[in-house]
Structure formats: C-alpha cells, structure tokens
Amino acid sequence: MPCCPATARMASWVVRRLAGAVLVSIIGIAVLVALVHLLPGDPLTAIVGDRALDPASRRVMEHDLGIGRPLPVVLMSFFRDALQGDLGHSLAERRPVTAILADRLGPTMLLGGLTLLIDFTLGVLLGVWSALHPRTRAARLLDSLTLATYTVPGFVIGLVLIWGFAVHWQWFPPALIADPLLPTDASTWTVLIDRLKHLVLPVTTMVLATIAVPLRQQRSAIVGTMSQPWVTAARARGVATRRVIWQHLWRPALTPVISLLGLWLPMVVAGAVFVETVFAYPGIGALLANATAQRDIPVVIGAGVVLVVVVQLGSLVADVLYRIVDPVQREPV
C-alpha cells in the first residue's frame, strides 16, 4: 500500500507518459529513417567525392556500406542494430556513429544547457521585472534591445561579437571549444578557464538571439495574471508585495513559460547550427548540417535520433513541471 496516494498517482502518470514518449519516439525515428532514405543524392559521394569509380568497385562499396537496400530492409536492420546500441558507421569517417555522437553531444549540451539556463533564469527575471515596471525608460530600452537582437540572425550577432571581442580586443578565442595547444597535463583549473573562455562568445550569441522569447512570454503572462481576482484579493488582504509577486502572480504565470521550455530544449540542440558554424563549434547542429550536405546517411539518422529523443525529453520535462507547478494538473480526473 503506497504511503502517499498523490505520489503513487504521480509515479503511475510518469510511467504512462514515458511509455507514450517511447512509442512516439519509435514512430518518429521510423519516419526519420524513411525520409532520409528517400533523400535525393548519392551517399557514395561522401566517400569517393567526384573521382571516377569503376562499376565493380561501386557495387562492392555499395554492398559493404548498405547503400541502395529497400526501405523495409533498412528499417528492420536499423531497429535491430539500434536495440543493440549500434547506429551504424559513418560513411565519411568509418567510425561508429555512436562514438561520433558522443563526441558532439557534450559540447552541444554545454552550449544548449547554458543558453537554456540563462534564458530561463535571466530572461524570466527580466520578464517579471519588465511587467512590473512597464512604463519605465529601462523597461522600454530592454524591450527594444531584446527585440533587436531577436530579429538579427544569430550568426550576424556572432560575427559582430567575434570582430569586437576576438579579433579587435582578442579577449576571447573566435573558434572551437578548447585550446588544442593546451598541455595534456594542464590543471583542471586551467582547462576550466580555457573552456569558459571558449564558451563566452557562442553562449552570449545564443542568449542574445533567443532571450527575447522567454522574457516576452513571461512578461505577458505576468501582465495577464495581474488582473486576476486572486491577485486583487491578496492585495486587498494586505499581503506583502513581494509575496504577492512571487506566490500569487509569478507562479500561475509560469505555466506558459514551462510549455515554452519543452519546445526550447530541441531548439537549442538543433537550432545552434549557424552559431556552431560561425564559431567552428563541434556540436550536433554542425554535425547534422555537414552530414546532410555529404549524405552521410548513418550520421544524419543518428543525429536525428538524438533530436527525436531530446524533443520527447523536453516535452516530458515540461509536462512533469506542469504537474508540479499547477496543482489542478495533479488532481485525479
């Protein structure tokens, strides 16, 4: 007998939600594999480039690499191998796709995670502040600035930051995620400082390009909640302003921001492709763009699988947070 019915209900709901997410992921991955299979273009190009291949070599290589198999065979073998943790080998690199993804996932999660963290802490706080001080000069300036950086493409912001902070003042490096010249026995502290220096410009670019959305979402949610009767009642009861803001105003106004978080997670993983290109940042977005351009099909599918999983994960996290934040969601139907 569970001690707490609410906890048991929550656990049961999470299990059901997780099962749904797995099912949707499988369908999504199957669609992805089918779509990639139908992409025009010759995948053998990834290996041989524009050089001449005699028909015998072409046949042998296509057979070895599994190119040209019918779609049902491709789907069957993909899921059979994927269940054993094998996503195939890159056509261009001849390395396991899982190893390539492992190399790229860390940098992407770091860039995306920091962007997410700043967007949903600083952005939300600025949104609350901006809603509470709507007619001040600072709020109007903030509004204009964030709107301006939102409308400018991310790679343009990146180029401007590189020109100023990397080329002109040389405060931060303009490319890569780490200094390859760092000695292998460098101290943890040195490595940490180096990583941070490499992250400053790409993270700033990503944040400047995206922060306007959570900020504005939070601001309009707060403004919409301000006129709710429970806020008026709390104020009439003489509840302290700070408590009114954080308990009666902010918490209910958080739900639209949480739904945004669910959508944001895959966006910061895949949407960083231009920023990754400008900064030669070795992430999933640049990998996916490069693999698509080269028709390195196993890598395209592997990166796609990561995105499908991240989308489902984002959605799951958002739903769980919904239920935590909004008591109505927790009630049994």
């Binding site: 992409l39 025009p40 273009g41 010759d42 995948p43 190009t45 990834a46 290996i47 041989v48 480039g49 524009d50 050089r51 001449a52 291949l53 005699d54 028909p55 015998a56 070599s57 072409r58 046949r59 042998v60 290589m61 070895d64 080998h89 261009a92 690199e93 001849r94 390395r95 190893a99 390539i100 190399d103 790229r104 180029l159 590189i162 020109w163 990397a166 080329v167 040389q170 490096p173 303009p174 490319a175 890569l176 995620i177 780490a178 390859p180 010249l181 290109t277 400008v278 900064f279 030669a280 070795p282 640049a286 990998l287 490069n290 351009a293 080269q294 028709r295």
Partner: protein
C-alpha cells in the same frame, strides 16, 4: 602575356629565399585551419578530401616528389624522397632504389615489399581507388637486390612522375594481415604510422589533429616541433581565427579578406600557382537522353558564341581577386610550366553576335531571345547552392548572356543532388571546380573519349574529341613534351567544351615569425617540415 614568364619569378623568389638548413632541435608550433576534417590521413584509405591530403603529406612520403619547376615530364624533373635514385632499364622499365635510411616511424625500414604491397592493395575494389592516373603502370615488383622495378605500358616522359609521385607506400608489415575492407576502421587508421617528417600525435574528432616532429626523419631534422590542424569549415571563421592569432597560416585566402589581413600587419602573403580551376561546362549530350547529342550545345559555333559573350576577366576578378588567370583551356596555374592558350578573358560581343548569326540564332519573333527553327536559345545551369562563388558566377553569366539574347535559367541545388545530376548528365550547363593533378595528362580522366563512354567517370559532359585525345596522349611521348601539351591545350581551347571562368593563384597568409617558408606549386605543404620560427619572434606556444 606568357604565363610561364609571369609566374616563374614568384615561385623562384619563394624557393631562393631558403638558406641552407642547419640541423638543430625542432622548435615552434604551426597552427593551420582546415576546411575539411582530416578523418583518415592515410593514402588511398580515407575520403579524397584536401583535409586528409594535407595531413597525409606530412606523414607519408612518396618515392619522388615534384621539383621546384613542378614539371612532371622527364626522368630528371622529379626530386628524390623515399627513393634515392632511379635508373632506366629500357623504354618501359624503371628501377627505383630506396634510400637505405628511409624507415617507418616504428623503426622498420621502408622496403620494396611496401611498395609492391601498396600497388596490390590499391587494386582492391573495397577501397574504390581511382586508378585512371596510374594506368601507365603495368606492374610493380621487387628485384632480388631490393629495388623496385616498375614496368610501364608504353614509353612516356611521365613514367618517373607516375610511379614516383602517384604511388605513396603504406607499411606492409602493419597492414598485410588485415583485410582491405578493414584497414579504414583499424587502429592503424586511427593512429597511422608513416615515414614522413611528422608523427601522428592525437586527433580530437570534430576539433583538431596534432602531429609531432620525428627527430629521426631520414632527410633531416624538421624545423618545427609540432603541427596542429584545426577543423574550421567556414572560410569566414578561418579568417577570424587567423586575425585573432588562433592560426598561423591560411591558404586560398578569399579576395574579400585580403585588406583586413594586410592591415593587421602580422602576416605576409606568399603566392604560388594554384591547382584549382573553375569552369562552366557544356553538356555534349541531351539531358533527357544521353544517347542523343545536345540539341543546342553540341554545335561548336554556338558554344563559341556563348564563350565570346562572357567577360571572363570580370567574373574571375570578382570571384577570386588579384592574381587570377583566365586560361582558354581547362587548366590551372599549376601547369604554368606548359604555358599556352591564355588570353585576357574579355568578352568580344561583336564576334559573339556574328557567331550566333552564323549558327542560325536570330531573334525572329522580337521577344529579346534568339531562336532557331522556332526553338528559343534557352538553357539551364546547375550549381551547388552552398557555393557563394558559383552562385555569383551563375548570376553574372545570366546577365551577360541576357544582353546577347540568351535565356539562362538558374538552378541552384543542394550539393549531393548537384553531384548526382552531374553524374547522370541531367543538365545543360554546369558550374564546376576542380583541383587538378600535377600533370596535364590527368585531363584524360575528365576530357577523353574513353572516359565519355565509361559509366561513372568524371567526364560528366561526355566530351569526346579524338584529336584532343591524340595530342594529349602523344605529348608525354614526344622529345619536347611541353610543346605537345601546349598543342593539346590549344586544341581544347578551340574545341570549347567549357568556358574557363578562373584559374586562381593559391594566396597563402603566413605569420611573420616563420622563416624558410617554402610553398610548392600543386602541393603547397610538402615542404612544411623545412619551415622554422625565428628565434627572436617565438610565441609562448612555440616553446
């Protein structure tokens, strides 16, 4: 202008500036950005990208390499590398003697067996090696005295080049027991052991690759302690990395970045003849049915008229900046030693109009588009949408031809789709670029009657001119091969299978602290091991 005369001083200046090297401990680090990731820097095994080739050249030597003149003809034009000398047995046999000091980086001597093993390995269909350029070789065997005996199919002045430069030996003692299909994913592929001036140190996938000087390199002590290659695919990002001091050299500097790099003051430019050429290819066959001749472009007079309408000089300058050439045949600057078939690249609209009229193209219905027998002079052009240079060329062509009454439909398409459209011949006109091999004989791969008929060949326009084939094939067998190649170029220029848009120079920005800078035509980085850092200009990363 004679291209040989115009280019030679630049090359010679670079080479003469090299004082005698004094053996001393390697010092200094050179950091270079690569646009393509060196995923497998091993001859014949990895994808044939410039990223792989640039690193491969530091790890693996050839039997012989190109000399300062970059000539590929003549037994004495090549410079010894793994082979200390070669001698001619007869008109179709050459013996190469290996330098007894040559060794693999694990200490094992380089032997004739390595060369024979490599020759056999590259015939494995699993590797998909394009053997067209090696067609001159009949067999490679080891003699009882340990020499390498190469037999050729016919007499040619390019025999030493073909066997010496195009064969890059692999270590038989490490690879012979592996199946050919497994080598590319083996430990050796991840950490190759070569015989060159630098050893493989480490690779961080997606980021960098580091090589360290091999102090036991048999041709001399490398001047630099380490080479670090950074994977920076975007040209803009490469320029930024250079300006910020993150990298030390950059090849093929775009014209748009010249001013910024010059102004920065830390870099000087070294120019060498480039091996890249951009051209506008006419399809000889009908895009819908490759068995039929193209209804418009198979007519040489129409091709001539189209070519005369194009201001190639303007296109070349805008795309590649100063130092670019506009040869009339499809030939890069790296073949400067051949000369011939060069002009200013200006349009001649009066002659173009006359040629159109002579070919029967007149604007009968007054709609601004020329027509013949009721068929308008309307063509499509395909090019990869990712290339800003090709896109700019396509737009300029459209404008220039519109003035002459030719309608050109632009078809920018995704790179792999573009490759497939080219391979299957589904295009009227195509914008292409090629990194040409050091020898003009390599034109046979893309511009010969044999390749026109071979499925999957790079002769995607199906061009076949038996007279050009005869001239090109005969050139290396002549006592004066240079005039033979020149005659072939002249024939190609008159035949007009393509409009050569530009043959740019390889403009390399080099940090001022480097000395003994040698940049070779065709293979820019093969002498990198002789570069040094001035002792009074060392940066922290050099120590």
């Amino acid at each position: 202008m004679n291209p040989v005369r115009s280019l030679r001083p630049a090359v010679v200046t670079v080479l003469l500036a090299v004082p005698t090297l004094v053996a001393q401990a390697p010092a200094g680090t050179l950091v270079m950005g690569l646009r393509q990731e060196p995923t497998a820097p091993i001859p014949y095994l990895g994808p044939p990208t410039t990223g792989n080739a640039d690193v491969t050249d530091q790890l693996f030597l050839r039997l012989a390499t190109l000399g300062p003149t970059a000539r590929t003809t003549g037994d004495r034009a090549m410079v010894p590398e793994l082979a200390s000398r070669w001698s001619r047995v007869d008109a179709t046999t050459v013996d190469f003697t290996l330098d007894p000091r040559a060794h693999w980086q694990d200490g094992t001597p380089v032997t004739a067996d390595d060369v024979v093993f490599t020759w056999n390995l590259i015939h494995s269909p699993e590797l998909g090696v394009d053997l067209t350029a090696l067609a001159l070789i009949r067999s490679v065997t080891a003699t009882r005295t340990g020499e390498i005996r190469v037999r050729f199919t016919e007499p040619s002045s390019e025999q030493v080049y073909t066997a010496g430069f195009l064969l890059q030996p692999l270590p038989a003692h490490l690879l012979a027991r592996m199946p050919a299909s497994g080598i590319a994913s083996s430990d050796f592929a991840r950490s190759p052991i070569g015989n060159g001036p630098f050893r493989f140190e480490r690779r961080v996938p997606g980021q960098s690759l580091e090589l360290r000087a091999d102090p036991s390199f048999f041709l001399g002590m490398p001047g630099l302690k380490r080479l670090v290659f950074l994977y920076i695919p975007s040209t803009d990002a490469q320029v930024n990395a250079l300006l910020a001091g993150q990298t030390d050299v950059m090849s093929d500097v775009p014209a748009t970045a010249l001013g910024r790099i010059e102004k920065q003051g830390n870099y000087r430019f070294v120019t060498a003849p480039g091996n890249f050429v951009t051209y506008v290819l006419f399809n000889a066959r009908s895009p819908g049915n490759p068995r039929l001749a193209h209804p418009i472009l198979s007519d040489s007079l129409t091709r001539r008229a189209l070519a005369l309408s194009v201001d190639r000089a303007a296109i070349a300058r805008q795309a590649f900046g100063p130092g670019v050439q506009t040869p009339r045949a499809v030939r890069s600057q790296a073949w400067f030693w051949v000369g011939g078939a060069m002009d200013a690249g200006r349009a001649d609209t009066a002659r173009a109009r006359a040629a159109f009229r002579a070919a029967g193209w007149v604007d009968h219905d007054g709609d601004g588009i020329l027509d013949r027998d009721g068929v308008p002079l309307r063509l499509g052009i395909i090019y990869p949408v990712q290339s800003s240079v090709f896109s700019a060329i396509a737009v300029q062509l459209q404008q220039m031809w519109r003035m002459m009454g030719v309608q050109l439909d632009l078809e920018p398409i995704d790179g792999p789709v573009w490759v497939e459209r080219r391979r299957t011949g589904r295009f009227d006109i195509d914008i292409a670029g090629a990194n040409q091999d050091p020898s003009p004989s390599s034109l046979a791969q893309s511009w010969s009657c044999t390749s026109a008929e071979r499925a999957g060949s790079s002769n995607v326009g199906h061009w076949c001119d038996p007279e050009f084939d005869r001239l090109r094939d005969r050139a290396p067998t002549l006592p004066d091969p240079i005039s033979g190649f020149r005659a072939a170029f002249t024939r190609m220029a008159a035949w007009q299978p393509a409009i050569v848009a530009a043959a740019p120079a390889n403009r390399i920005a080099v940090h001022q602290r480097f000395e003994h800078v040698i940049v070779r035509p065709s293979k820019a980085w093969t002498s990198l091991w002789q570069w040094r850092v001035r002792a009074d200009a060392m940066l922290p990363r050099d120590r």
